[in-house]
C-alpha cells in the first residue's frame, strides 16, 4: 500500500494520469470519516486529499464560497458562522455513527456523499447548493463545470452528477457552494406520546401548514431517552423545528401549537436545546453506540416510512426513528441486515432507496450497500461510469450492487 498526499490540483492530475496509465486502482479519501460506507475498496494506492486545503473565495454578500476539496468542513462552518452564514443543507457528520471522532470530514467529501441533514425537506442536500467544481476524471482529464453564480444553465450540471458519486466518477479538487444566512434563532415544538402512525399524520399536517418548518422528526419511545442526555421523559416525541427571526419564530410556534393541540400534549424547546437536539437527530446519535450493528438509512415517501418499518419488524428485530417528515428512516438491526426483505418492502410501499451505512466489512463485501437498480437504469449508470472512469481505477466497486 502506498499513499499520495497531493497539495495541488496539478499533482492530483499527475497521480490520476499515472494510475490510469498503469491501471492502478486508487482509494480516494479526504479525512476518511466516511471510509466505512460502501463496499470495502481494494486498492493498491491511496490518494489522500487532506492536504489539498484552503478557502479560495468567500464573498458573504454574494452568498458564495469556494474551497479546495480537502478543506475541513468544520473550518468552513466556523468561517461562515463568523459571518452569520451557513451551509443550508446542514451536512451530517457520519463519524460518530461509524465509531470515529466527531467534527471531521471535508467539503469534497460532503459533495461526494451528497450530505444533508434535517433541513433537507426545506433547503435540499449538497446537490442543491453546489454551484461548480473543478475535477479530474478517471481518464486523467482535468475539467470544470458550473460556475460561481446561483442561476446558471450553461451546459450540463456535472457538479450535480458528482454529488453522491462517492468518488467513483471523478476526483473533485475544488468546489464552489452557495451559502445562505443562518437563522437568527430557532425553537422546537414537541408533541408528546404519539405512536408511529399518529406521528405520521401529525407530521403531514404540520408540513402542510404555513409555519415553514425546517425539521420534522419522530423519536419513538425506544430512542427518545438517548437524546439531550436523557432530558425527555420516557414518552415518544414528535418534534418540529422553526427557524428565522425572533418575532417570526414565536408567531409560527403559536400557529403550529394551535394546529397540533388535538394530537396531544406539547412542550417547547428553547434555542439552545433545539440546536442540540437537531444536531443529534442529524448525526443519528441514538445509534452511535460504539458497535458495528448494521444501520440502514432509508429514503421513502414521507407517509410510507412507518409502514415499511412496521412490516419489516414482523420479519426482523430493529430499532428505528424518523426524520424528514417520516421519509428518512434510521434503522438499527439487532442482528443481520435482512437486505432482501427490506428492499422488497421499499418497493412494495412505493419505492425509494436504502443504504447500509454501517456494517462490518465482511457484511459490506457481501451485501449490496447501495440500492440495486432495475436493469435499464443500472446499464445507464454503468455507461456513465465507463465514460468517466473506463479503467475502473476510482474507488473500484465502492458503489457496486452485485
Amino acid at each position: 500500500m502506498t499513499t499520495s498526499t497531493p497539495d495541488s490540483a496539478a499533482e492530483v492530475l499527475n497521480i490520476v494520469r499515472w494510475a490510469a496509465g498503469e491501471e492502478v486502482p486508487l482509494e480516494v479519501l479526504g479525512h476518511g470519516s466516511k471510509r466505512d460506507i460502501g463496499r470495502p475498496v481494494q486498492a493498491e494506492h491511496t490518494l489522500d486529499l487532506s492536504r489539498l486545503t484552503g478557502v479560495t473565495l468567500y464573498e458573504p454578500e454574494e452568498l458564495v464560497l469556494s474551497a479546495k476539496a480537502g478543506t475541513p468542513l468544520a473550518e468552513i462552518e466556523d468561517l461562515l458562522a463568523r459571518h452569520n452564514q451557513q451551509l443550508a443543507f446542514e451536512p451530517m457528520d457520519y463519524a460518530p455513527l461509524l465509531g470515529g471522532a466527531a467534527g471531521r470530514g471535508t467539503i469534497g467529501g460532503a459533495l461526494a456523499a451528497n450530505l444533508s441533514g434535517p433541513r433537507r425537506i426545506k433547503a435540499g442536500a449538497a446537490r442543491d447548493h453546489v454551484l461548480g467544481v473543478h475535477a479530474v476524471s478517471g481518464r486523467g482529464e482535468a475539467f470544470k463545470s458550473g460556475g460561481r453564480v446561483v442561476k446558471n444553465v450553461t451546459g450540463y450540471d456535472l457538479s450535480k452528477g458528482l454529488a453522491g458519486s462517492w468518488g467513483t466518477l471523478a476526483i473533485v479538487t475544488d468546489v464552489t457552494f452557495k451559502v445562505l444566512p443562518a437563522a437568527e434563532t430557532e425553537k422546537t415544538l414537541a408533541v408528546i406520546g404519539l405512536d408511529d402512525v399518529q406521528a405520521a399524520s401529525a407530521m403531514a399536517e404540520a408540513m402542510s401548514c404555513s409555519a415553514e418548518l425546517s425539521g420534522a422528526a419522530h423519536l419513538p419511545v425506544t430512542v427518545v431517552g438517548r437524546f439531550l442526555e436523557g432530558a425527555f421523559s420516557s414518552e415518544a416525541r414528535t418534534v418540529f423545528r422553526v427557524e428565522g427571526v425572533g418575532p417570526s419564530v414565536d408567531y409560527r410556534i403559536d400557529l403550529l401549537a394551535g394546529l397540533m393541540r388535538p394530537h396531544g400534549r406539547m412542550e417547547v424547546l428553547d434555542q439552545s436545546q433545539s440546536r442540540t437536539l437537531w444536531r443529534e437527530i442529524r448525526d443519528c446519535r441514538p445509534f452511535a453506540d460504539g458497535t458495528s450493528a448494521p444501520v440502514w438509512r432509508l429514503s421513502v415517501a414521507p407517509t410510507q416510512g412507518h409502514k415499511v418499518v412496521d412490516a419489516f419488524r414482523r420479519a426482523a428485530g430493529a430499532n428505528a426513528f424518523y426524520d424528514w417528515q417520516g421519509g428518512l428512516v434510521w434503522l438499527r438491526m439487532e442482528a443481520d441486515p435482512e437486505e432482501e426483505i427490506l428492499r422488497e418492502l421499499i418497493a412494495y410501499f412505493g419505492g425509494g432507496h436504502a443504504t447500509l451505512v454501517r456494517a462490518a466489512p465482511a457484511i459490506r463485501a457481501a451485501v449490496p450497500v447501495f440500492q440495486p437498480q432495475p436493469p435499464a437504469l443500472a446499464a445507464l449508470s454503468a455507461r456513465l461510469k465507463e465514460q468517466f472512469d473506463p479503467k475502473n481505477i476510482l474507488n473500484p466497486s465502492r458503489m457496486a450492487t452485485s
Binding site: A20, E61, G124, K144, N152, S208, C209, S248, A301, Q387
Partner: protein, 498 residues
C-alpha cells in the same frame, strides 16, 4: 438565419420520408402524425423566432409505450429526433431539423396524482407550469418555480431547461423542486429516476437530466414538490439616483441575512418603457428601480419590511413605497412583468439576453453595456433578477433594416462575453440551445466540453437526440473514448502508510 450551422441533413432519411411517416402512423394511430407543410408551419420555430425550419414530420404521441417505440424505431434506423414541449424556449432548444422527427409532447397533458400528505404532484410532461399550481391552489398550495412563460410552458420543458423565474433565490430552480421523473432513452428504454422520496440511490442522473435541453432523454412523467403558499407577501418599490446605489442596496439586504422572495431591478430605459406602457406609477427621475418582495408569515414580513426600508434609505434611495394591499403590490409588479412587451412597443424588434454575473459586478457590466451600445449603435434596456445576478438586457433593433439583426446578435454575444469575463455565465435560465451554442468555448475549454459530451455519450451514443443544440461541435463518442496514456513512475510517492 444568420450564419448558424446545423448538422447536415441525412440524405438517406430524407429519401425515406414517406416510409418513416407510414411507420409513425402505425405507432401513433389517429391524429398524432402531422406531415402537411401548412400544418407543420406551426412547429417550425420556438420562442427564438429568428430561426425557422420545417421538420421531417411532426409526431404527437399519447402514451409512454408510443414514445418508447418511436425512439427505438429511430434509434435502430439512425433517424434524428427533436423533442418539444410547448415550444416557448428563447434559445432555440426546440428548433426542428429538416431530417428529424419532431416529437411533440403536448398530448401528455394530464395530472396523474395529487398527494398533499407527501406534498407531491405527479404530472405528465405536457401539463403547463401554471397548471400544476392551479390543480393544488384550492388547498393553499403552489409549485414554486415560475418562469415568465408559466401560462404556456410545460413542466417537461421546465425539466429540460431547468427553468427559473423571479423567486429562484429563495425557492430554487426546477432542479431543486422536482422529486422524480420517468423518461425514455433514445434506445427506447423506459427508466424512473427518483419518486416521492428524496435523493437517488445511485448517481444523480436526475441532476444531469435537469437542464440537459432535450439531448439526453424524453421526459414522460414528472413528480414535483409543492409548497404551502406563503401567508402573506408585501413589496417595496425603491428608486435610486444611480445603479451603484441600487446594487449596494441589494448587497446590503442580503448581507443583513434577508432573502427576499423576489428582488428585481430595472434601469432607466426599462423604467421609462414600462411606465409608458402600463402607467404603474414608477418614478421617472431615477436611474434604477428596485422591487423587493418579502413573503412568508405575517409577523416575519412586517418585521423584515421595515429593515429593508431602512437599508434602502441608508443607500440614498430617492423614493420608497411599501405596498399596503395585494392590489398595490401587484401594481408594483405590473411594470416589471410588462417590461418585455413594453420594450416591444418602443422598438420594432428586441433581442433578449440572459447572462448571470456576480452581483457586485453590476455597475461595471452596465457601464460596459453602455459602451457597447454606442459601438453598435443600438439601444439596450435592462431588467435584472437582482437577487441572483441574472441579467436580461433587451437589445432594440429593427429586423427590416439590413444588417441590424446581425448587429444585435454581435452586440448580444459581446454582452455575454463580458458576463463571462467578470466571473459570470452565458445563460442563467433561457438555455444554450442554438442561440448560445457557438459561445460555449468562451466559458469552457475543449476538455470541459468533452466531459459534458461524455454524459451525452452515456445516454445517446449516436447523437440522435436533438443534435445541433448546446455543443458547438459534438465529437463522436468513439473518438472521445480513446485514452491518452501516461506511463511512468508514481508521482510524489509518500512513505508506505497503513
Amino acid at each position: 438565419m444568420s450564419g448558424l450551422h446545423m448538422p447536415k441533413p441525412d440524405a438517406e432519411t430524407l429519401r425515406k420520408r414517406e416510409e418513416i411517416i407510414a411507420d409513425m402512423r402505425i405507432i401513433v394511430p389517429g391524429e398524432g402524425v402531422v406531415e402537411a407543410e401548412s400544418e407543420m408551419r406551426a412547429f417550425e420555430s420556438d420562442g427564438l423566432t429568428a430561426y425557422r425550419q420545417l421538420p421531417l414530420v411532426v409526431v404527437l404521441p399519447e402514451t409512454v409505450a408510443q414514445v418508447s417505440r418511436i425512439l427505438k424505431y429511430c434509434h435502430e434506423r439512425n433517424i434524428r429526433v427533436v423533442p418539444r414541449g410547448s415550444g416557448t424556449s428563447l434559445s432555440g432548444g426546440a428548433l426542428p431539423l429538416r431530417d428529424a422527427v419532431l416529437l411533440v409532447m403536448s398530448r401528455f397533458n394530464r395530472i396523474l396524482d395529487i398527494d398533499f400528505a407527501n406534498r407531491a404532484v405527479v404530472a405528465q410532461p405536457g401539463v403547463t407550469n401554471l397548471g400544476i399550481t392551479q390543480a393544488v391552489e384550492h388547498e393553499g398550495f403552489y409549485y414554486a418555480p415560475d418562469p415568465s412563460s408559466q401560462i404556456a410552458c410545460s413542466i417537461g420543458g421546465n425539466v429540460a431547461e431547468n427553468s427559473g423565474g423571479v423567486h429562484c433565490l429563495k425557492y430554487g430552480l426546477t432542479a431543486n423542486n422536482i422529486l422524480g421523473i420517468q423518461m425514455v432513452l433514445m434506445n427506447g428504454d423506459v427508466i424512473r429516476l427518483g419518486g416521492k422520496h428524496l435523493d437517488s440511490g445511485g448517481y444523480d442522473l436526475l441532476g444531469l437530466m435537469t437542464g440537459s435541453e432535450g439531448l439526453l432523454g424524453v421526459v414522460t412523467e414528472v413528480t414535483v414538490r409543492i409548497l404551502k403558499k406563503p401567508e402573506t407577501a408585501r413589496a417595496l418599490l425603491i428608486g435610486f439616483p444611480s445603479n451603484e446605489q441600487a446594487g449596494q442596496c441589494v448587497a446590503d439586504i442580503i448581507g443583513a441575512g434577508i432573502i427576499p422572495g423576489g428582488m428585481e431591478m430595472m434601469d432607466r430605459p426599462a423604467i421609462h418603457a414600462a411606465e409608458a406602457f402600463v402607467n404603474a406609477g414608477y418614478p421617472l427621475d431615477v436611474e434604477a428601480l428596485l422591487i423587493v418582495e418579502l413573503d412568508g408569515p405575517q409577523a416575519e414580513v412586517h418585521h423584515l419590511i421595515e429593515r429593508v426600508e431602512a437599508i434602502a434609505h441608508m443607500n440614498g434611495c430617492t423614493t420608497s413605497r411599501i405596498s399596503n394591499s395585494d392590489e398595490e403590490r401587484l401594481s408594483f409588479w405590473a411594470g416589471r412583468k410588462a417590461a418585455f412587451p413594453a420594450v416591444g412597443r418602443i422598438s420594432p424588434d428586441y433581442y433578449c439576453m440572459d447572462g448571470t454575473i456576480p452581483r457586485k459586478e453590476l455597475p461595471r457590466v452596465l457601464a460596459g453595456m453602455r459602451e457597447l451600445s454606442e459601438k453598435y449603435g443600438l439601444s439596450v434596456a435592462n431588467v435584472f433578477h437582482a437577487g441572483d445576478g441574472n441579467l436580461h438586457p433587451l437589445i432594440l433593433y429593427d429586423a427590416n433594416k439590413p444588417g441590424e439583426l446581425e448587429r444585435a446578435e454581435a452586440f448580444g454575444a459581446d454582452i455575454l462575453r463580458l458576463c463571462v469575463k467578470v466571473g459570470g455565465v452565458l445563460t442563467g435560465e433561457h438555455g444554450v440551445g442554438v442561440e448560445k451554442r457557438d459561445l460555449m468555448p468562451e466559458m469552457f475549454s475543449e476538455e470541459d466540453l468533452n466531459q459534458q459530451i461524455r454524459v451525452k455519450c452515456a445516454f445517446d451514443p449516436n447523437h440522435l437526440l436533438n443534435p445541433g443544440k448546446v455543443f458547438p461541435q459534438l465529437h463522436r463518442c468513439a473518438e472521445l473514448g480513446r485514452m491518452h496514456i501516461h506511463r511512468g513512475q508514481v508521482p510524489f510517492p509518500e512513505l508506505e502508510r497503513f
